[in-house]
């Protein structure tokens, strides 16, 4: 089998990515897109933000360029840099510049993880100027109406260092995401994995137990993503208690006692 290599800006999502609507997020996103407003997705990890972006890219028929931010991400990583090739220096666009050039949706995931001086390069793109200054090449890229900037941010970290600056956040239309309520979440798990309803319901119940422990020993409860992981293992024939342990408990804590307590909770359910 051979996989095809495509440039991200040429890659259009063909099949509808499954996304379970929770509220009016699709309508708001579309409205913001039409008005060329940048969008901020707020919410805990694994609650469907990335999936939502894929779904919107499909809906709006635009390529989606995703950048996972990390603390070494520099402005050049986003905008572009000179490389030496065949004895000459050539300019190579970064993902942000490429998105602007091709009218793609640029999604900066976990924006607070990026260095602060990196975050400011998106400012001119995120207000009504909609331009990307490229100082190194002495150019200014102007965004077309198709281009869309979206960022995500998890307010749950509660660390002063990891807070999004006002000057950044006030440029965005904010969409709030959270774990869907029990019935919807079970449905997502079922659709994603093909697991039976009873097991899906118990998994959701287990997730709620861990979310209740947030603040009393856990930093974060189990996300929808982890439930999907556990359900996939169960679907493969792994016992539910083992699946909860390997896919959920191990992922959310390193504390030995907490791990045992979560094991006791899951074995009480299954």
């Amino acid at each position: 089998m051979q996989s095809k290599a495509l440039k991200p800006e040429e890659y259009f999502i063909k099949d509808e990515p499954y996304y379970q609507t929770v509220g009016d997020e699709i309508a708001i996103f579309e409205a913001a897109y039409r008005q060329s407003l940048p969008i901020l997705l707020k919410g805990p990890t694994g609650c469907g933000k990335t999936r939502f972006m894929e779904h919107m890219a499909w809906r709006l028929k635009r390529p989606l360029i995703t950048v996972s931010c990390h603390d070494d991400l520099t402005a050049s990583d986003l905008v572009g840099r000179f490389l030496i090739s065949g004895g000459e220096t050539v300019w190579v666009d970064g993902p942000l510049a490429r998105s602007v050039r091709h009218g793609a949706i640029c999604y900066l995931d976990e924006i607070v993880e990026a260095r602060k001086d990196t975050t400011v390069v998106i400012h001119p793109l995120a207000d009504d100027r909609r331009v990307l200054p490229m100082e190194k090449v002495g150019e200014i890229l102007e965004a077309t109406p198709e281009f869309c900037l979206a960022i995500s941010y998890n307010p749950g970290y509660q660390s002063v260092m990891k807070d999004l600056k006002q000057s950044t956040r006030q440029r965005f239309v904010a969409l709030e995401f959270d774990y869907p309520d029990a019935a919807l979440e079970a449905e997502i798990i079922i659709k994603e994995t093909g697991i039976d309803t009873a097991t899906a319901n118990l998994l959701v119940k287990f997730a709620h137990m861990t979310r209740d422990l947030k603040g009393s020993g856990l930093d974060e409860g189990a996300s929808t993503r982890l439930l999907v992981h556990a359900a996939k293992l169960i679907h493969e024939g792994i016992s539910p208690v083992v699946a909860c342990k390997t896919a959920i408990s191990q992922a959310i804590t390193d504390d030995a006692d907490m791990m045992v307590a979560m094991h006791e909770l899951s074995s009480s359910l299954f």
Binding site: F82, D257, L269
Partner: protein, 714 residues
């Protein structure tokens, strides 16, 4: 057919033989008095053992018999037997006195030997049981040790026996704890205490009546557990089989009817009341190992206080919510009548399964109101008590209607904070390392951050004057340490092209050599990305010259650190026992060094004891929120971890060592400076994970710190 119990005469007859009463003059009557009250199986068990012991020594057999009932309350029969055998074994090897000690010191025996083998000990399992019960829905419950051997709940805390050793294997004994916890959670969650006990027990035979209620509620609650926690329900059935001999109890049709009724999905306490008349006390099943007892006297008071308190808090919260929504709608609604009470509505999104909090919504004037988390928690607890939010709770409190002080005093109980059931503003919990058990005590220490009042006196000026010379040379050293911008050349990536490198590269290519990819320049701002935290011992043992030395050094250090522009913070620490660890903020990272800070340094006073680990852990937590490439934690103390309780000697040293190790693991450089006239031998061990030095002169301190700086930051 169970055999009839032995009569007093029959017991005396046997004991006289075992004790050889004719010659030893042991009074069989005293022992018989105890045995007569027991069921036949217990009588046989005791007499049998008594006989075996008497073969070794009659006096020992008598003492055993006198303690046997107490022993059976504390341990199961296997362990009582083992206990008796330990005593006779001691007699054989060491004589009567040591053997008697084993019998008399029953409590100690329970705690040590056999329990270690198979029993589950609450002290060790609580760190698992507590998150377990808090993961179950509903009110956040606490767990504590029961004074006697019976589990029960007062609706806020589940009390458990210190030890569970009913079964042979420790994992089964843990399971009994777990089942007990879940059963008492179910009592609270599914409304056992909503029963009108006063009315129901107002009868001729309240003891039997309570037994009947207990039996019926057990059926109902087990059905609830079966629905909510099917996995645990299976385990509970297995436990039941393992702990009762005759597991085949045949029941009448009538009884089966009752079971069906109480197991229905919508069964509630009213059904229990209804069934009360349907059953006779003859057909009650034995109580099982996780069922515990109902201690209603423990419940009433607590429940009443809580209901009153939560109603107050809830209604005040409502009035705040009302105010907010009023603010939002200000433009539309012009005239508002302050005197009229605002009433909320409850909307339940019906999900037949069970009323759970997430399905209850608050409505004000037809509009849904977002419920903040702390109010949600209140609502959960209220629903647990009433099964709903009672209508009279839904009127927002009028101004001045409640005096919250009354409730707040109660909330300051440090033991509550320790249980982690609520978070008092500013109180934080930390683990402590127990080296003997090689594990952490969870949430062991309660730490509060306090303020120091600044004292404006001449101390700062005097200090600066006194150490003029030293200060000058320090300034010089620190100025050299200050870094500058640098242009880094020959980088793989960079902001500009390194022309020199490029020219060379061309030359290389021309002469047929491989071209390097290091062709860029990068501006590297030698920003001193250093953060330093000083942790100053404020324990009573620093009184006198050590305290003076600490304060003087801090003043000098602040002066010179300013030169570097490094971020720094200063905290003092002291306290009494693990529930009162007090941290005094002298300067936080984000505070300017100004006159007020100087005043606080001047007012650093010796307080109580030195528990070290908890403070190092707190500093580590603060540091983890600070973005700096070099983090220095400098402890200044007199070197003796010491507290009122067991934090003395090895325990304290090991916990401190562990905390330092944790800090190190989080990328912090701990450095301990001990001001002491003579170095102690434990210092190298304790500070092994860190560096340390011992000094005896204040003037050495700033010098020492500048040394550390040079070492770690350049």
């Amino acid at each position: 057919m169970p055999r009839p119990t032995l009569t007093f005469e029959e017991i005396i007859e046997r004991l006289d033989v075992y004790f050889d009463a004719e010659f030893t003059f042991i009074k069989s009557e005293d022992a018989a008095e105890l045995i007569i009250k027991q069921p036949r199986s217990i009588q046989d068990f005791i007499l049998n053992l008594c006989k075996r012991i008497s073969a070794t020594n009659e006096e020992l057999a008598f003492q055993f018999t006198m303690n046997s009932i107490r022993a059976l309350e504390a341990m199961d029969q296997h362990m009582v037997e083992a206990w008796a055998m330990t005593a006779t074994d001691n007699y054989d090897r060491k004589g009567l006195t040591p053997a008697m000690i084993v019998i008399r010191d029953l409590d100690n025996y329970v705690h040590t030997a056999h329990v270690n083998a198979c029993g589950a000990v609450l002290d060790e399992e609580i760190s698992i049981l507590l998150p377990f019960v808090q993961g179950l829905s509903g009110r956040k419950l606490k767990i504590a040790e029961a004074e006697d051997n019976h589990a029960y709940t007062d609706t806020e805390t589940i009390f458990l026996p210190a030890i569970t050793a009913l079964l042979e294997e420790s994992k089964d004994n843990f399971l009994i704890y777990k089942a007990t916890v879940a059963f008492h959670w179910a009592q609270i969650q599914f409304g056992t205490f909503r029963l009108p006990f006063d009315e129901v027990l107002d009868c001729d035979d309240p003891v039997t009546q309570l037994k009947k209620i207990t039996a019926l509620e057990t059926i109902r609650l087990e059905a609830c557990i079966k629905r909510e926690l099917p996995g645990l329900y299976r385990d509970m059935q297995i436990l039941k089989q393992k702990t009762t001999d005759n597991n085949e109890q045949t029941h009448s049709d009538n009884w089966q009817n009752v079971v069906d009724k109480l197991s229905a999905i919508d069964a509630c306490v009213n059904d229990t009341l209804h069934c009360l008349e349907l059953i006779s006390d003859k057909q009650l099943p034995d109580s099982c190992c996780y069922q515990g007892v109902l201690k209603l006297d423990q419940v009433t008071d607590i429940m009443q206080k809580r209901i009153e308190k939560e109603k107050a808090y809830f209604r005040i919260a409502l009035s705040e919510l009302a105010k907010e929504s009023l603010k939002k709608n200000k433009e539309t609604t012009e005239d508002t009548d302050d005197n009229e009470t605002t009433t909320f509505n409850i909307k339940t999104r019906n999900d037949k399964q069970q009323i759970s909090n997430s399905l209850v919504e608050l409505e004000l004037e037809g509009e849904l109101v977002a419920i903040p988390d702390h109010v949600k928690e209140l609502m959960t607890s209220i629903i647990v008590d009433f099964g709903e939010i009672p209508p009279e709770h839904l009127h927002a409190a009028g101004p001045g209607e409640y005096d919250l002080k009354k409730y707040e005093d109660e909330m300051l109980n440090p033991d509550d904070v320790w249980q982690g059931t609520y978070h008092e503003e500013g109180a934080e919990l930390y683990n402590e390392w127990n080296f003997k058990r090689q594990h952490y005590h969870k949430n062991w220490c309660v730490l509060r951050e306090l303020e120091i009042e600044p004292k404006y006196d001449d101390f700062v000026e005097d200090t600066l004057d006194k150490h003029k010379g030293l200060l000058k040379s320090l300034r010089h050293t620190f100025e050299i340490l200050r870094g500058e911008d640098k242009l880094l050349k020959r980088q793989v990536y960079g902001d500009d092209i390194d022309i020199d490198a490029l020219v060379e590269a061309y030359a290389d290519v021309k002469s047929g050599m491989e071209m390097t990819d290091r062709l860029f320049t990068k501006m590297h701002k030698e920003e001193r990305n250093v953060a330093v935290m000083f942790m100053v011992d404020m324990s009573g043992s620093t009184k006198g010259w050590i305290n003076d030395a600490e304060r003087e050094s801090l003043i000098l250090l602040c002066e010179v650190i300013q030169i570097l522009g490094d971020r720094f913070a200063i905290y003092g620490f002291s306290g009494v026992t693990r529930t009162r660890c007090e941290l005094y903020k002298i300067k936080a990272f984000d505070e300017e060094y100004n006159d007020e800070i100087k005043g606080r340094i001047s007012n650093i006073q010796p307080k109580d004891y030195t528990r070290m680990g908890v403070f190092i852990r707190h500093m580590t937590r603060i540091f983890n929120g600070v973005d700096a490439s070099t983090k220095l934690l400098i402890t200044i103390s007199d070197g003796k971890p010491d507290d009122y309780d067991t934090y003395r000697g090895e325990y304290g040293v090991e916990d401190t060592r562990q905390a330092l190790y944790e800090a190190h693991r989080d990328g912090i450089h701990p450095y301990c400076i001990t001001i002491d006239e003579e170095a102690r031998d434990y210092l190298p061990h304790m500070y092994g994970a860190a560096n340390y030095s011992v000094i005896d002169d204040v003037t050495q301190l700033p010098l020492k710190v500048s040394d550390i700086y040079r070492k770690l930051t350049t």
